[in-house]
Symmetry: C2
Protein backbone atom coordinates (compact mmCIF):
# COMPACT_ATOMS: atom_id res chain seq x y z
CA UNK A 1 0.00 0.00 0.00
CA UNK A 2 1.26 3.47 -0.88
CA UNK A 3 2.21 5.89 1.90
CA UNK A 4 -0.03 8.94 2.28
CA UNK A 5 1.06 12.43 1.20
CA UNK A 6 -0.77 15.74 1.74
CA UNK A 7 0.00 18.68 -0.58
CA UNK A 8 -1.50 21.82 0.96
CA UNK A 9 -1.80 25.09 -0.95
CA UNK A 10 -2.52 28.19 1.13
CA UNK A 11 -3.68 31.34 -0.57
CA UNK A 12 -2.13 34.77 -0.41
CA UNK A 13 -5.04 36.24 1.53
CA UNK A 14 -4.33 33.89 4.47
CA UNK A 15 -0.80 35.28 4.63
CA UNK A 16 -2.14 38.84 5.01
CA UNK A 17 -3.90 38.00 8.28
CA UNK A 18 -1.27 37.18 10.97
CA UNK A 19 -3.70 35.35 13.30
CA UNK A 20 -5.28 33.29 10.55
CA UNK A 21 -1.83 32.52 9.24
CA UNK A 22 -0.55 31.25 12.59
CA UNK A 23 -3.68 29.13 12.86
CA UNK A 24 -3.21 27.51 9.45
CA UNK A 25 0.48 26.77 10.17
CA UNK A 26 -0.54 25.24 13.49
CA UNK A 27 -3.11 23.01 11.75
CA UNK A 28 -0.58 22.11 9.05
CA UNK A 29 2.05 21.18 11.64
CA UNK A 30 -0.45 18.81 13.30
CA UNK A 31 -1.27 16.91 10.09
CA UNK A 32 0.05 13.33 10.14
CA UNK A 33 2.36 11.78 7.60
CA UNK A 34 4.31 13.18 4.67
CA UNK A 35 3.32 16.72 3.74
CA UNK A 36 4.24 19.60 1.46
CA UNK A 37 3.12 23.23 1.71
CA UNK A 38 2.74 25.57 -1.28
CA UNK A 39 2.18 29.27 -0.61
CA UNK A 40 1.55 32.45 -2.52
CA UNK A 41 2.88 35.82 -1.42
CA UNK A 42 -0.25 37.86 -0.75
CA UNK A 43 -0.42 41.55 -1.51
CA UNK A 44 3.03 42.22 -0.09
CA UNK A 45 4.56 42.23 -3.59
CA UNK A 46 2.28 45.08 -4.69
CA UNK A 47 3.01 46.95 -1.46
CA UNK A 48 6.76 46.46 -1.91
CA UNK A 49 6.67 47.54 -5.58
CA UNK A 50 4.94 50.76 -4.52
CA UNK A 51 7.50 51.42 -1.76
CA UNK A 52 10.28 50.96 -4.30
CA UNK A 53 8.56 53.13 -6.88
CA UNK A 54 8.14 50.29 -9.39
CA UNK A 55 4.95 50.66 -11.40
CA UNK A 56 3.14 47.34 -11.98
CA UNK A 57 3.20 46.59 -15.73
CA UNK A 58 -0.20 45.59 -17.09
CA UNK A 59 -1.26 44.55 -20.61
CA UNK A 60 -5.00 44.03 -21.21
CA UNK A 61 -5.51 43.86 -17.44
CA UNK A 62 -2.96 41.07 -17.04
CA UNK A 63 0.08 41.62 -14.84
CA UNK A 64 3.44 41.38 -16.64
CA UNK A 65 6.49 40.05 -14.80
CA UNK A 66 9.47 42.17 -15.81
CA UNK A 67 12.94 41.74 -14.22
CA UNK A 68 12.23 44.17 -11.34
CA UNK A 69 8.87 42.55 -10.58
CA UNK A 70 10.50 39.10 -10.57
CA UNK A 71 13.18 40.33 -8.13
CA UNK A 72 10.43 41.52 -5.80
CA UNK A 73 8.64 38.17 -6.09
CA UNK A 74 11.90 36.37 -5.26
CA UNK A 75 12.47 38.65 -2.24
CA UNK A 76 8.92 38.32 -0.94
CA UNK A 77 7.82 34.78 -1.90
CA UNK A 78 11.26 33.15 -1.84
CA UNK A 79 12.64 35.20 1.05
CA UNK A 80 10.38 36.96 3.54
CA UNK A 81 7.26 34.77 3.38
CA UNK A 82 9.12 31.48 2.92
CA UNK A 83 11.64 31.97 5.74
CA UNK A 84 9.01 33.26 8.18
CA UNK A 85 6.82 30.21 7.48
CA UNK A 86 9.83 27.94 8.01
CA UNK A 87 10.86 29.60 11.31
CA UNK A 88 7.25 29.37 12.54
CA UNK A 89 6.91 25.71 11.54
CA UNK A 90 10.21 24.84 13.22
CA UNK A 91 8.84 26.41 16.42
CA UNK A 92 5.81 24.10 16.00
CA UNK A 93 8.04 21.02 15.64
CA UNK A 94 7.81 20.60 11.85
CA UNK A 95 11.22 20.19 10.21
CA UNK A 96 10.53 22.53 7.28
CA UNK A 97 12.78 23.57 4.38
CA UNK A 98 11.73 26.61 2.32
CA UNK A 99 12.20 26.08 -1.39
CA UNK A 100 11.73 27.56 -4.83
CA UNK A 101 11.53 25.34 -7.89
CA UNK A 102 15.28 25.88 -8.37
CA UNK A 103 16.15 24.36 -4.99
CA UNK A 104 16.81 20.63 -5.34
CA UNK A 105 16.03 21.25 -9.04
CA UNK A 106 12.44 20.65 -7.91
CA UNK A 107 10.39 22.35 -10.67
CA UNK A 108 11.59 23.02 -14.20
CA UNK A 109 9.66 25.41 -16.40
CA UNK A 110 10.05 27.37 -19.63
CA UNK A 111 9.24 31.00 -20.20
CA UNK A 112 5.66 31.23 -21.46
CA UNK A 113 5.79 31.59 -25.26
CA UNK A 114 4.64 34.95 -26.64
CA UNK A 115 1.41 34.48 -28.57
CA UNK A 116 -0.59 37.67 -28.21
CA UNK A 117 0.93 38.89 -24.97
CA UNK A 118 4.49 38.64 -23.62
CA UNK A 119 3.87 37.89 -19.94
CA UNK A 120 7.57 38.33 -19.24
CA UNK A 121 9.37 36.11 -16.76
CA UNK A 122 6.45 33.73 -16.23
CA UNK A 123 7.09 29.99 -16.30
CA UNK A 124 4.92 27.14 -17.56
CA UNK A 125 5.86 23.93 -15.72
CA UNK A 126 7.72 21.24 -17.70
CA UNK A 127 8.53 18.73 -14.98
CA UNK A 128 8.66 18.14 -11.25
CA UNK A 129 11.67 16.29 -9.81
CA UNK A 130 9.66 13.77 -7.79
CA UNK A 131 12.79 11.83 -6.77
CA UNK A 132 14.44 14.96 -5.31
CA UNK A 133 11.31 15.81 -3.32
CA UNK A 134 10.97 12.15 -2.27
CA UNK A 135 14.54 12.18 -0.88
CA UNK A 136 13.69 15.22 1.26
CA UNK A 137 10.49 13.62 2.57
CA UNK A 138 12.31 10.37 3.25
CA UNK A 139 14.95 12.25 5.27
CA UNK A 140 12.12 13.62 7.44
CA UNK A 141 11.91 17.13 5.99
CA UNK A 142 8.75 19.04 5.07
CA UNK A 143 9.26 21.05 1.85
CA UNK A 144 7.64 24.50 1.75
CA UNK A 145 7.31 25.75 -1.84
CA UNK A 146 6.91 29.31 -3.02
CA UNK A 147 5.50 30.12 -6.46
CA UNK A 148 8.83 30.25 -8.31
CA UNK A 149 10.26 27.81 -10.86
CA UNK A 150 13.49 27.79 -12.89
CA UNK A 151 14.47 27.02 -16.47
CA UNK A 152 17.62 25.01 -15.64
CA UNK A 153 19.74 27.69 -17.32
CA UNK A 154 19.94 30.00 -14.32
CA UNK A 155 16.67 31.91 -14.81
CA UNK A 156 14.00 31.95 -12.10
CA UNK A 157 10.40 32.31 -13.29
CA UNK A 158 7.13 33.38 -11.68
CA UNK A 159 4.54 30.59 -11.69
CA UNK A 160 0.99 30.31 -10.38
CA UNK A 161 0.90 28.70 -6.91
CA UNK A 162 -2.28 26.65 -7.67
CA UNK A 163 -0.52 25.17 -10.71
CA UNK A 164 2.62 24.39 -8.71
CA UNK A 165 0.55 22.59 -6.05
CA UNK A 166 -1.29 20.53 -8.69
CA UNK A 167 1.90 19.61 -10.59
CA UNK A 168 3.72 18.57 -7.39
CA UNK A 169 0.71 16.47 -6.29
CA UNK A 170 0.55 14.81 -9.73
CA UNK A 171 4.25 14.01 -9.88
CA UNK A 172 4.28 12.52 -6.36
CA UNK A 173 1.27 10.28 -7.05
CA UNK A 174 3.33 7.45 -8.58
CA UNK A 175 4.90 6.95 -5.18
CA UNK A 176 2.23 8.24 -2.79
CA UNK A 177 -1.52 8.13 -2.15
CA UNK A 178 -1.83 11.91 -2.56
CA UNK A 179 -4.44 14.35 -1.30
CA UNK A 180 -4.28 17.91 -2.65
CA UNK A 181 -5.78 20.60 -0.39
CA UNK A 182 -6.68 24.02 -1.77
CA UNK A 183 -7.18 26.36 1.20
CA UNK A 184 -8.93 29.61 0.39
CA UNK A 185 -11.38 31.99 2.06
CA UNK A 186 -14.60 30.04 1.42
CA UNK A 187 -15.77 26.85 3.14
CA UNK A 188 -15.77 24.94 -0.15
CA UNK A 189 -17.62 24.82 -3.45
CA UNK A 190 -20.98 26.42 -2.69
CA UNK A 191 -24.38 25.45 -4.11
CA UNK A 192 -25.37 29.10 -3.66
CA UNK A 193 -22.49 31.65 -3.85
CA UNK A 194 -24.39 33.93 -1.44
CA UNK A 195 -24.79 31.21 1.20
CA UNK A 196 -21.59 30.19 3.05
CA UNK A 197 -23.46 27.21 4.49
CA UNK A 198 -24.37 25.62 1.15
CA UNK A 199 -21.12 23.64 0.87
CA UNK A 200 -21.30 20.74 -1.60
CA UNK A 201 -19.53 17.96 0.28
CA UNK A 202 -18.63 15.73 -2.62
CA UNK A 203 -18.20 16.29 -6.35
CA UNK A 204 -17.19 13.62 -8.85
CA UNK A 205 -16.70 13.96 -12.62
CA UNK A 206 -20.40 13.39 -13.31
CA UNK A 207 -21.46 15.87 -10.65
CA UNK A 208 -18.92 18.38 -11.99
CA UNK A 209 -20.42 18.17 -15.49
CA UNK A 210 -23.88 18.73 -14.02
CA UNK A 211 -22.74 21.73 -11.97
CA UNK A 212 -21.16 23.20 -15.10
CA UNK A 213 -24.31 22.55 -17.14
CA UNK A 214 -26.50 24.25 -14.53
CA UNK A 215 -24.04 27.16 -14.16
CA UNK A 216 -23.62 26.53 -10.44
CA UNK A 217 -19.86 27.03 -10.50
CA UNK A 218 -19.00 30.72 -10.37
CA UNK A 219 -16.45 32.28 -12.72
CA UNK A 220 -13.85 32.64 -9.96
CA UNK A 221 -14.07 28.93 -9.16
CA UNK A 222 -13.72 27.72 -12.75
CA UNK A 223 -9.90 27.74 -13.08
CA UNK A 224 -9.57 26.24 -9.58
CA UNK A 225 -11.98 23.42 -10.50
CA UNK A 226 -10.11 22.88 -13.74
CA UNK A 227 -6.86 22.47 -11.74
CA UNK A 228 -8.63 20.01 -9.41
CA UNK A 229 -9.86 17.71 -12.17
CA UNK A 230 -6.55 17.99 -14.04
CA UNK A 231 -4.89 16.64 -10.87
CA UNK A 232 -7.50 13.90 -10.39
CA UNK A 233 -7.16 12.75 -14.01
CA UNK A 234 -3.42 12.43 -13.39
CA UNK A 235 -3.55 10.02 -10.45
CA UNK A 236 -4.01 12.39 -7.50
CA UNK A 237 -6.36 10.41 -5.21
CA UNK A 238 -8.52 13.27 -4.00
CA UNK A 239 -8.67 17.07 -3.95
CA UNK A 240 -10.17 19.01 -1.03
CA UNK A 241 -11.31 22.62 -1.34
CA UNK A 242 -12.23 24.77 1.65
CA UNK A 243 -10.98 27.21 4.26
CA UNK A 244 -8.14 26.39 6.63
CA UNK A 245 -10.35 24.54 9.12
CA UNK A 246 -10.54 21.75 6.53
CA UNK A 247 -7.03 20.79 7.77
CA UNK A 248 -8.46 20.20 11.26
CA UNK A 249 -9.15 16.56 12.11
CA UNK A 250 -12.88 15.87 12.36
CA UNK A 251 -14.13 18.92 10.47
CA UNK A 252 -16.49 17.79 7.69
CA UNK A 253 -17.34 21.23 6.21
CA UNK A 254 -15.43 21.30 2.91
CA UNK A 255 -15.66 19.94 -0.62
CA UNK A 256 -13.95 16.69 -1.60
CA UNK A 257 -13.46 16.06 -5.30
CA UNK A 258 -12.78 12.64 -6.81
CA UNK A 259 -13.01 11.25 -10.32
CA UNK B 1 38.92 7.31 6.80
CA UNK B 2 36.60 10.30 7.00
CA UNK B 3 35.00 11.68 3.83
CA UNK B 4 36.14 15.13 2.75
CA UNK B 5 33.93 18.21 3.14
CA UNK B 6 34.58 21.76 1.88
CA UNK B 7 32.83 24.68 3.58
CA UNK B 8 33.26 27.76 1.37
CA UNK B 9 32.41 31.27 2.57
CA UNK B 10 32.16 33.95 -0.11
CA UNK B 11 32.18 37.59 0.89
CA UNK B 12 29.60 40.23 0.08
CA UNK B 13 31.93 42.14 -2.24
CA UNK B 14 32.12 39.13 -4.60
CA UNK B 15 28.33 39.23 -4.91
CA UNK B 16 28.47 42.88 -6.06
CA UNK B 17 30.51 42.00 -9.16
CA UNK B 18 28.39 39.83 -11.52
CA UNK B 19 31.37 38.47 -13.52
CA UNK B 20 33.45 37.64 -10.46
CA UNK B 21 30.38 36.08 -8.91
CA UNK B 22 29.69 33.81 -11.89
CA UNK B 23 33.34 32.80 -11.83
CA UNK B 24 33.32 31.85 -8.16
CA UNK B 25 30.11 29.83 -8.58
CA UNK B 26 31.69 28.06 -11.55
CA UNK B 27 34.78 27.19 -9.49
CA UNK B 28 32.59 26.09 -6.56
CA UNK B 29 30.49 23.85 -8.81
CA UNK B 30 33.69 22.12 -10.04
CA UNK B 31 34.97 21.30 -6.53
CA UNK B 32 34.89 17.56 -5.83
CA UNK B 33 33.13 15.90 -2.95
CA UNK B 34 30.73 17.15 -0.30
CA UNK B 35 30.48 20.92 -0.14
CA UNK B 36 28.57 23.74 1.53
CA UNK B 37 28.47 27.41 0.52
CA UNK B 38 27.96 30.30 2.95
CA UNK B 39 27.31 33.77 1.54
CA UNK B 40 26.79 37.31 2.75
CA UNK B 41 24.47 39.74 1.01
CA UNK B 42 26.80 42.51 -0.13
CA UNK B 43 25.72 46.13 -0.15
CA UNK B 44 22.29 45.33 -1.56
CA UNK B 45 20.72 45.55 1.91
CA UNK B 46 21.93 49.15 2.34
CA UNK B 47 20.72 49.97 -1.19
CA UNK B 48 17.33 48.39 -0.51
CA UNK B 49 16.94 50.18 2.85
CA UNK B 50 17.57 53.49 1.11
CA UNK B 51 15.03 52.71 -1.65
CA UNK B 52 12.46 51.91 1.01
CA UNK B 53 13.31 55.00 3.05
CA UNK B 54 14.53 53.02 6.06
CA UNK B 55 17.38 54.80 7.85
CA UNK B 56 20.13 52.45 9.02
CA UNK B 57 20.20 52.49 12.84
CA UNK B 58 23.70 52.93 14.25
CA UNK B 59 24.90 53.05 17.88
CA UNK B 60 28.60 53.91 18.42
CA UNK B 61 29.27 53.16 14.76
CA UNK B 62 27.76 49.64 15.01
CA UNK B 63 24.79 48.74 12.89
CA UNK B 64 21.63 47.77 14.80
CA UNK B 65 19.23 45.18 13.37
CA UNK B 66 15.69 46.38 14.03
CA UNK B 67 12.62 44.53 12.69
CA UNK B 68 12.59 46.43 9.35
CA UNK B 69 16.31 45.86 8.80
CA UNK B 70 15.90 42.15 9.56
CA UNK B 71 13.04 41.92 7.03
CA UNK B 72 15.34 43.43 4.41
CA UNK B 73 18.12 40.97 5.31
CA UNK B 74 15.64 38.09 4.97
CA UNK B 75 14.47 39.39 1.58
CA UNK B 76 17.99 39.99 0.23
CA UNK B 77 20.14 37.27 1.86
CA UNK B 78 17.43 34.65 2.27
CA UNK B 79 15.56 35.49 -0.93
CA UNK B 80 17.19 37.33 -3.81
CA UNK B 81 20.85 36.37 -3.33
CA UNK B 82 20.15 32.82 -2.13
CA UNK B 83 17.72 31.88 -4.90
CA UNK B 84 19.86 33.42 -7.66
CA UNK B 85 22.90 31.46 -6.43
CA UNK B 86 20.81 28.29 -6.37
CA UNK B 87 19.41 28.83 -9.91
CA UNK B 88 22.93 29.54 -11.19
CA UNK B 89 24.42 26.47 -9.48
CA UNK B 90 21.63 24.25 -10.84
CA UNK B 91 22.53 25.49 -14.33
CA UNK B 92 26.13 24.42 -13.55
CA UNK B 93 25.02 20.94 -12.50
CA UNK B 94 25.25 21.38 -8.70
CA UNK B 95 22.10 20.22 -6.89
CA UNK B 96 21.89 23.22 -4.54
CA UNK B 97 19.32 24.02 -1.82
CA UNK B 98 19.26 27.59 -0.47
CA UNK B 99 18.85 27.70 3.28
CA UNK B 100 18.69 29.93 6.33
CA UNK B 101 19.50 28.56 9.76
CA UNK B 102 15.77 27.94 10.25
CA UNK B 103 15.55 25.56 7.27
CA UNK B 104 16.14 21.97 8.41
CA UNK B 105 16.56 23.55 11.88
CA UNK B 106 20.17 23.94 10.78
CA UNK B 107 21.45 26.73 13.05
CA UNK B 108 19.98 27.68 16.42
CA UNK B 109 20.95 30.96 18.03
CA UNK B 110 19.83 33.29 20.80
CA UNK B 111 19.40 37.04 20.59
CA UNK B 112 22.67 38.65 21.65
CA UNK B 113 22.30 39.74 25.30
CA UNK B 114 22.23 43.49 25.91
CA UNK B 115 25.39 44.52 27.79
CA UNK B 116 26.25 48.02 26.72
CA UNK B 117 24.52 48.00 23.34
CA UNK B 118 21.30 46.33 22.21
CA UNK B 119 22.25 45.09 18.74
CA UNK B 120 18.64 44.15 18.11
CA UNK B 121 17.73 41.00 16.19
CA UNK B 122 21.28 39.65 16.04
CA UNK B 123 21.88 36.00 16.91
CA UNK B 124 24.84 34.33 18.64
CA UNK B 125 25.04 30.70 17.52
CA UNK B 126 24.11 28.02 20.07
CA UNK B 127 24.25 24.88 17.95
CA UNK B 128 24.44 23.53 14.42
CA UNK B 129 22.25 20.55 13.49
CA UNK B 130 25.05 18.48 11.95
CA UNK B 131 22.77 15.48 11.45
CA UNK B 132 20.23 17.52 9.46
CA UNK B 133 22.98 18.92 7.22
CA UNK B 134 24.54 15.44 6.93
CA UNK B 135 21.21 14.01 5.69
CA UNK B 136 21.08 16.66 2.94
CA UNK B 137 24.69 15.96 1.86
CA UNK B 138 24.04 12.22 1.94
CA UNK B 139 21.01 12.68 -0.33
CA UNK B 140 23.31 14.43 -2.83
CA UNK B 141 22.30 18.04 -2.13
CA UNK B 142 24.63 21.02 -1.72
CA UNK B 143 23.38 23.36 1.04
CA UNK B 144 23.78 27.09 0.38
CA UNK B 145 23.56 29.07 3.62
CA UNK B 146 22.75 32.74 4.03
CA UNK B 147 23.69 34.64 7.19
CA UNK B 148 20.43 34.05 9.09
CA UNK B 149 19.79 31.86 12.13
CA UNK B 150 16.66 31.21 14.25
CA UNK B 151 15.89 30.89 17.93
CA UNK B 152 13.60 27.85 17.64
CA UNK B 153 10.65 29.96 18.82
CA UNK B 154 9.81 31.43 15.41
CA UNK B 155 12.25 34.35 15.39
CA UNK B 156 14.86 34.71 12.64
CA UNK B 157 18.11 36.45 13.60
CA UNK B 158 20.90 38.18 11.68
CA UNK B 159 24.26 36.44 12.17
CA UNK B 160 27.75 37.09 10.84
CA UNK B 161 28.50 34.93 7.77
CA UNK B 162 32.13 34.22 8.81
CA UNK B 163 30.86 32.90 12.15
CA UNK B 164 28.22 30.75 10.45
CA UNK B 165 30.84 29.22 8.15
CA UNK B 166 33.16 28.45 11.09
CA UNK B 167 30.38 26.96 13.24
CA UNK B 168 29.12 24.77 10.39
CA UNK B 169 32.68 23.57 9.65
CA UNK B 170 33.26 22.79 13.34
CA UNK B 171 30.01 20.88 13.77
CA UNK B 172 30.60 18.78 10.62
CA UNK B 173 34.16 17.82 11.65
CA UNK B 174 33.08 14.87 13.81
CA UNK B 175 31.87 13.21 10.63
CA UNK B 176 34.07 14.77 7.93
CA UNK B 177 37.66 15.78 7.20
CA UNK B 178 36.69 19.43 6.82
CA UNK B 179 38.41 22.30 5.00
CA UNK B 180 37.05 25.79 5.61
CA UNK B 181 37.66 28.31 2.80
CA UNK B 182 37.35 32.05 3.43
CA UNK B 183 37.17 33.77 0.02
CA UNK B 184 37.72 37.52 0.08
CA UNK B 185 39.34 40.17 -2.11
CA UNK B 186 43.00 39.52 -1.21
CA UNK B 187 45.19 36.61 -2.27
CA UNK B 188 45.72 35.52 1.34
CA UNK B 189 47.36 36.70 4.54
CA UNK B 190 50.06 39.11 3.35
CA UNK B 191 53.54 39.61 4.83
CA UNK B 192 53.29 43.21 3.59
CA UNK B 193 49.76 44.68 3.38
CA UNK B 194 50.89 46.90 0.48
CA UNK B 195 52.23 43.98 -1.57
CA UNK B 196 49.61 41.62 -3.05
CA UNK B 197 52.40 39.17 -3.92
CA UNK B 198 53.67 38.69 -0.38
CA UNK B 199 51.22 35.85 0.43
CA UNK B 200 52.24 33.75 3.43
CA UNK B 201 51.53 30.22 2.22
CA UNK B 202 51.30 28.46 5.54
CA UNK B 203 50.58 29.60 9.08
CA UNK B 204 50.44 27.30 12.10
CA UNK B 205 49.72 28.22 15.77
CA UNK B 206 53.37 29.03 16.44
CA UNK B 207 53.65 31.13 13.28
CA UNK B 208 50.40 32.90 14.17
CA UNK B 209 51.76 33.90 17.59
CA UNK B 210 54.92 35.26 15.91
CA UNK B 211 52.90 37.23 13.33
CA UNK B 212 50.82 38.72 16.16
CA UNK B 213 53.95 39.56 18.17
CA UNK B 214 55.56 41.34 15.20
CA UNK B 215 52.30 43.14 14.36
CA UNK B 216 52.23 41.65 10.83
CA UNK B 217 48.52 40.87 10.93
CA UNK B 218 46.49 43.98 10.07
CA UNK B 219 43.51 45.07 12.15
CA UNK B 220 41.04 44.01 9.46
CA UNK B 221 42.46 40.49 9.42
CA UNK B 222 42.42 39.98 13.21
CA UNK B 223 38.79 38.83 13.65
CA UNK B 224 39.08 36.63 10.54
CA UNK B 225 42.26 34.97 11.92
CA UNK B 226 40.57 34.53 15.26
CA UNK B 227 37.70 32.70 13.50
CA UNK B 228 40.24 30.53 11.65
CA UNK B 229 42.06 29.36 14.78
CA UNK B 230 38.78 28.93 16.66
CA UNK B 231 37.76 26.49 13.88
CA UNK B 232 41.14 24.71 13.90
CA UNK B 233 41.08 24.28 17.68
CA UNK B 234 37.66 22.66 17.27
CA UNK B 235 38.65 19.87 14.86
CA UNK B 236 38.44 21.59 11.48
CA UNK B 237 41.37 20.06 9.57
CA UNK B 238 42.51 23.19 7.73
CA UNK B 239 41.41 26.71 6.90
CA UNK B 240 42.30 28.40 3.60
CA UNK B 241 42.18 32.18 3.13
CA UNK B 242 42.46 33.83 -0.27
CA UNK B 243 40.57 35.17 -3.26
CA UNK B 244 38.25 33.02 -5.34
CA UNK B 245 41.04 31.49 -7.46
CA UNK B 246 42.03 29.51 -4.37
CA UNK B 247 39.07 27.24 -5.27
CA UNK B 248 40.74 26.43 -8.60
CA UNK B 249 42.61 23.12 -8.70
CA UNK B 250 46.38 23.66 -8.96
CA UNK B 251 46.48 27.28 -7.77
CA UNK B 252 48.97 27.56 -4.87
CA UNK B 253 48.61 31.30 -4.16
CA UNK B 254 46.66 31.44 -0.90
CA UNK B 255 47.21 30.97 2.82
CA UNK B 256 46.61 27.62 4.51
CA UNK B 257 46.22 27.63 8.27
CA UNK B 258 46.63 24.55 10.46
CA UNK B 259 47.18 24.05 14.20
Amino acid sequence: MKQKLSVVKIGGNLIEDPEGFEHVLDLFSKMDGNKILVHGGGNKTTEMSQKMGIEPKMINGRRITDADTLDIAIMIYGGLVSKKIVAQLQALGTDAIGMSGADANAIRAHKRPVIKVDFGLVGDVDSVNAYGIFKLLQAGFTPIFCALTHDGKGQLLNTNADTIAAEIAISMSDQFDTTLYYCFEKKGVLQDVEDENSVIHHIDSKGYDELLAYGIISDGMLPKMHNCFHALKNNVSRVCVGNSSMLEAGNPEYTTLTL
